[in-house]
Symmetry: C2
Subunit: 224 residues, 2 copies
């Protein structure tokens, strides 16, 4: 039986590690990225290179106008990306983003008859986004069974979250053992067009701390 | 407390009835449509007029490239819209469409602090799409509670499906009592650019039978 998987590939540290893990497990990998109005769309350039490097069977970059809904510092020009830590769920949260992303992945999985979707969510060293938590993934998995023709026909499409309970340092160590080159990834929410990081946003802080704790040299290119 | 609702508005018979019902219940209505690559995008012109007529507070038409995923007669140029009834789930099924639509509605609901989402799905006189059934809606409702910041904060966003157990004739009778003008709606999967219907596809058949059974004159404009 063919093992086909959709891999949600943002172009960041977590998603490249997820792709490397799926490859290692023998999946034929179909990479899926979204041009959803994110200010830091340099990550899409990174995603393209990564998909090629890992010989993804296909790589789709879907245009999604999430900016027109607004409500997030990542998509709304009226809200700045914060440069200090915030209490609670931060303004970089994009309402329902992972629900939309997984819904698209589900649609594509049905069309190509993939039996797996990999998403690099993490609920340890993360920004507190509700749609990165295990309870969200479990609820989405239940939805999958009733949402699709595949589900009605008894074909399981499984959502895999191999990073969900790892620390950022743990993810970096795992990826490094798999030969992942993190230099080409973009995590920063304010990355410039060359993918250079600000060093100040939530995503930069989590990433830098992860490399430090892993004891691995941080290859991130910073702007200053 | 303000009662704000997102109404999924395709421009067809079911969604106009749903909008009329939400208005009748006193909701401030925000209409949401999708330009998702459907061949019958004349429905979007209808949706625009309907949103204006019902004084929607806002009407967003979100561009979504579902055609690039393919797999449906509604979005894929390589698959024709069938002109006869099919067994099982027909090729007009768009993989994960309602999951994607509801996910977007959920995101917008969070941003504008709406407490309701109305969707005109129907599981009686319908095409057998899995994502029109009560079990799908129930699973999505459970997902809502864990997917969003609103959910984490204990704010309920309720999915309403006022048509789900009505026959097509029952929907038409209900809408007619509410003063709905069905002449302006487009149901046909092969509607031409003026919104004129083919009279042969699944959607046309269900609609025509509905008017006949309701004993109400069918205002549909046909091509021939």
């Amino acid at each position: 039986m063919s093992k086909k998987a959709i891999i949600l590939l943002s172009g960041g540290l977590d998603s490249i590690t997820t792709l490397a893990l799926a490859k290692q497990q023998g999946y034929f990998c179909y990479a899926l990225s979204f041009d959803y109005g994110q200010k830091h769309n340099a990550e899409l350039g990174a995603a393209k290179k990564i998909a090629q490097q890992y010989h993804a069977i296909d790589h789709k970059i879907i245009k999604l106008d999430m900016g027109s809904i607004g409500g997030s510092a990542l998509t709304d020009d009226k809200i700045n990306v914060p440069e200090s830590l915030q209490n609670g769920i931060p303004v970089t949260y994009v309402p329902a983003r992972n629900t939309v992303f997984l819904a698209f992945a589900l649609g594509w999985a049905e069309v190509i008859k993939a039996n797996a979707i990999f998403i690099g969510v993490n609920a340890v060293d993360y920004s507190g986004y509700p749609d990165c938590r295990p309870e969200f993934i479990e609820a989405f998995q239940k939805l999958v069974r009733v949402a699709t023709k595949a589900g009605v026909e008894g074909k399981e499409i499984t959502i895999f979250t191999p990073l969900i309970s790892l620390s950022k340092a743990g993810i970096i160590k795992k990826g490094t053992l798999l030969g992942v080159d993190y230099a080409q990834t973009v995590s920063c929410y304010s990355a410039d067009e060359k993918g250079r990081a600000c060093g100040k946003c939530d995503a930069c802080r989590l990433r830098a701390t992860g490399f430090a704790e892993a004891g691995i040299a941080d290859p991130t290119k910073y702007r200053d």
